[in-house]
């Protein structure tokens, strides 16, 4: 593990610590420090991604690199959303997965793709990665929503006063993430299907892997959520749980790819 990787891992780790501190009742300064460290980690990782691209270890070159990109996108998405929304309390839920994904990606030695991806394969991996990262952000927001909603339902107003993100804001942010992620993920699935079909035609065989089924289930869950939200006004708790369900499917896709390539 090189020095830059250690540096941005350390930045993400301490950022998570400061956001946790804020979540547990620390002052606004804790969130400010957490955000600064997250920005530092984000920029350092951006530099690292650039260097890796030069070394032909671009995000689509292997599962660990794709996972690292997902982590970077989550961090970037959170920072971007922080500009618009009061998201101090969500920091702990958004940055912790970044750290976990990066540790996962960096402890496993990076392998090269078995065959050249081609533009279709590259597009598929980038779109799927962006989609999963957006779903991860939606899931982090949903977890925070459920936690805050539970506090409110149990009348623990002191846990929320002055440091929580309004439930309505979290609900709308999660919905926006899901809408954007669904669009990107749909394109990812379509390009993936085309890619697999082309590979099948070239090699003369077409496998149906569990990842495909999981990806489709995840896509369906998010599709149902969007339809129910638009049609039946599904919001709040139900929407948050369905977001988590959909993300679990997307996460399993990544995990199964990871296991396959690590094996």
């Amino acid at each position: 593990m090189d020095a830059v990787t250690i540096l941005y891992l350390a930045a993400y780790a301490t950022s998570t610590g400061f956001f946790l501190l804020r979540h547990m009742g620390g002052g606004q300064r804790a969130a400010g420090v957490g955000r600064a460290l997250l920005t530092a980690g984000f920029l350092l990782q951006l530099g690292d991604i650039g260097v890796r691209c030069v070394r032909l270890q671009h995000p689509a070159s292997s599962t660990p690199e794709a996972i690292a990109l997902i982590a970077w996108l989550i961090a970037g998405g959170f920072l971007l959303a922080s500009l618009r929304y009061r998201l101090d309390a969500a920091g702990a839920f958004a940055v912790a997965p970044v750290l976990v994904l990066l540790l996962l990606a960096r402890v496993v030695p990076s392998e090269s793709a078995a065959a050249p991806l081609g533009s279709l394969g590259l597009t598929h991996i980038l779109l799927a990665t962006l989609g999963v990262a957006t779903f991860a952000l939606a899931a982090a927001v949903a977890v925070l929503y459920l936690w805050q909603e539970r506090q409110l339902r149990h009348k623990h107003l002191e846990q929320l006063r002055g440091k929580s993100t309004p439930l309505d804001t979290l609900d709308r942010l999660a919905a926006r993430c899901v809408s954007f992620g669904f669009l990107v993920f749909t394109l990812g699935i379509v390009t993936g299907a085309l890619w697999v079909a082309r590979l099948g035609l070239v090699s003369g065989r077409a496998d149906v892997r569990p990842e495909y089924v999981l990806a489709l289930a995840s896509w369906l869950a998010f599709g149902v959520l969007l339809l129910a939200r638009a049609g039946a006004g599904w919001r709040g708790r139900r929407a948050a749980w369905l977001t988590l369900g959909g993300f679990a499917g997307a996460l399993l896709v990544v995990v199964s790819y990871f296991i396959r390539h690590a094996a």
């Binding site: 929304y85 009061r86 805050q148 409110l152 339902r153 009348k155 107003l157 002191e158 929320l160 006063r161 929580s164 309004p166 439930l167 309505d168 804001t169 039946a232 006004g233 599904w234 919001r235 709040g236 708790r237 139900r238 929407a239």
Partner: protein, 442 residues
């Protein structure tokens, strides 16, 4: 003395809202009830019935018996409810009773808002004054009750003036604002519906309106809704169209005097369907409650009742405990002062009667002497008269000082009785209601 002050009641400290709402009495019912409870044993009565407490204050010469009688009354009132509900409310352990100094102390603490859910909240003083007015209309206020209530108002005013206890207490307004901030980003798009036209709703509406929310009022009596709306400068929603008003609202603050819930679960379920999952915050400060408790279970609905506010206020109390401790000391001082003055008031008629008796005797003897001395001119008569009166005053000086000093002690009553017995004085005169009214106007 007409008797001792006593109180029987229950409050948010001893009984949950489910029990308090069974005993709550409307202002119209209070007067009837007070007249019915008055007897030879219980000469004066007043009743405080708010969302946080139901208390009967009385004056009786036989305190223990009067306490028993009032407890029986409370049991009777709830007895019907117990049968209805098929469950025991454990009223014996929920009811408290105080007699004499303890009752005075309790009244002073209640009036000073030290026993409120929201310590330092200003509404309770008005509610205690309304209780006294209702009792005056019922004709059940005499000198003792009137006196102690007026002293309680004075103690409450002193606490508010000399401590910071009333500064930024947790109130319906502050909880409503905090809840809104937890659920929504800003207030500009929020619509607040006030059901009922109580004072607390009025304050909450003003506070939310100041934050930028739109406020609408609805009330069973349209005229009262219009009156509140004109005061607040907000809209009026017809009470008959409550579902539509709920549909448009984001925050509902309800405080009607209805005996049964006016917002049921089914209504909220229907409304929430049409609201397409939009969150709804309901603050129900009515006792009996206006909103069915099971509404709390619905997705997207956040229901707070008076007991939830109490718990929130207790958390807040920690911050203002120091001020509350200062206020407690003030209340103790005011109680001691009131009791001392009351004893002084009691000794006044005795002193007057004693002076009248002795001066009457002295004047009679002086007249008798003047009759025996025909050469005595007018000047001489006046000298004799003055000498006898001076003699009486000198004789009375030491006993009167002792009596006045003793009056502010616990043995005061025994001293007064001894003087009446020794000098054959008539029964004590009862201090008139006008005196009490004058005290109240201090």
């Amino acid at each position: 003395m007409k008797g001792d002050l006593l109180v029987v009641g229950l409050s948010h400290r001893t009984a949950p809202v489910e029990v308090r709402e069974r005993l709550a009495v409307t202002p119209a019912e209070i007067e009837v009830l007070l007249r019915a409870l008055r007897s030879d044993r219980i000469t004066e009565l007043a009743m405080i019935s708010t969302c946080n407490r139901v208390e009967i204050y009385a004056v009786s010469t036989d305190g223990p018996a009067a306490l028993g009688s009032l407890r029986d009354h409370m049991h009777e009132r709830l007895g019907v409810a117990v049968l209805d509900q098929g469950q025991a409310y454990g009223l014996d352990r929920r009811l408290y009773q105080r007699l004499g100094r303890e009752a005075v102390h309790h009244l002073f603490r209640v009036s000073a808002s030290l026993d409120s859910i929201v310590v330092g909240e200003p509404q309770i003083l008005g509610q205690v004054k309304e209780a006294l007015e209702a009792a005056q209309r019922a004709g059940t206020v005499g000198s003792t009750l009137g006196y102690y209530f007026s002293r309680a108002f004075r103690a409450a005013r002193r606490v508010r003036r000399e401590t910071a206890i009333a500064l930024q207490p947790i109130s319906v307004s502050s909880v409503a604002v905090d809840l809104a901030r937890t659920v929504w980003e800003g207030f500009s798009d929020l619509r607040v519906l006030i059901i009922g036209a109580g004072k607390m709703s009025d304050l909450a509406a003003r506070s939310l309106r100041a934050q930028g929310a739109t406020v609408a009022v609805t009330n069973r009596t349209q005229a009262r809704a219009e009156e509140l709306a004109s005061r607040l400068g907000c809209e009026v929603e017809p009470f008959a169209d409550l579902p539509r008003a709920l549909l448009r609202a984001d925050i509902v603050i309800t405080s009607t005097g209805a005996r049964e819930p006016i917002v049921g679960r089914e209504l909220v379920v229907e409304v929430q369907k049409l609201r397409r999952g939009r969150p709804l915050v309901i603050i129900d400060i009515a006792v009996p409650r206006d909103v069915e408790a099971s509404v709390e279970e619905l997705d997207g609905v956040y229901l707070w009742n008076i007991d939830h506010l109490q718990r929130e206020a207790q958390k807040n109390l920690q911050d203002r405990r120091q001020e509350a401790e200062r206020a407690e000391v003030m209340v103790d001082e005011e109680v001691a002062r009131a009791l001392a003055v009351e004893r002084g008031r009691a000794v006044g008629p005795t002193i007057a009667a004693l002076r009248a008796r002795l001066l009457g005797l002295a004047r009679a003897e002086a007249d008798k002497l003047a009759g025996k001395l025909p050469d005595l001119d007018d000047r001489g008569r006046r000298e004799v008269q003055a000498m006898t009166e001076a003699l009486v005053n000198k004789i009375l000086h030491a006993p009167l000082v002792t009596l006045k000093d003793g009056a502010s002690s616990a043995e005061g009553q025994a001293l007064i009785e001894a003087v009446h017995k020794l000098f054959g004085l008539p029964e004590l005169e009862v201090i008139s209601n006008e005196d009490a009214a004058m005290e109240e106007g201090e």
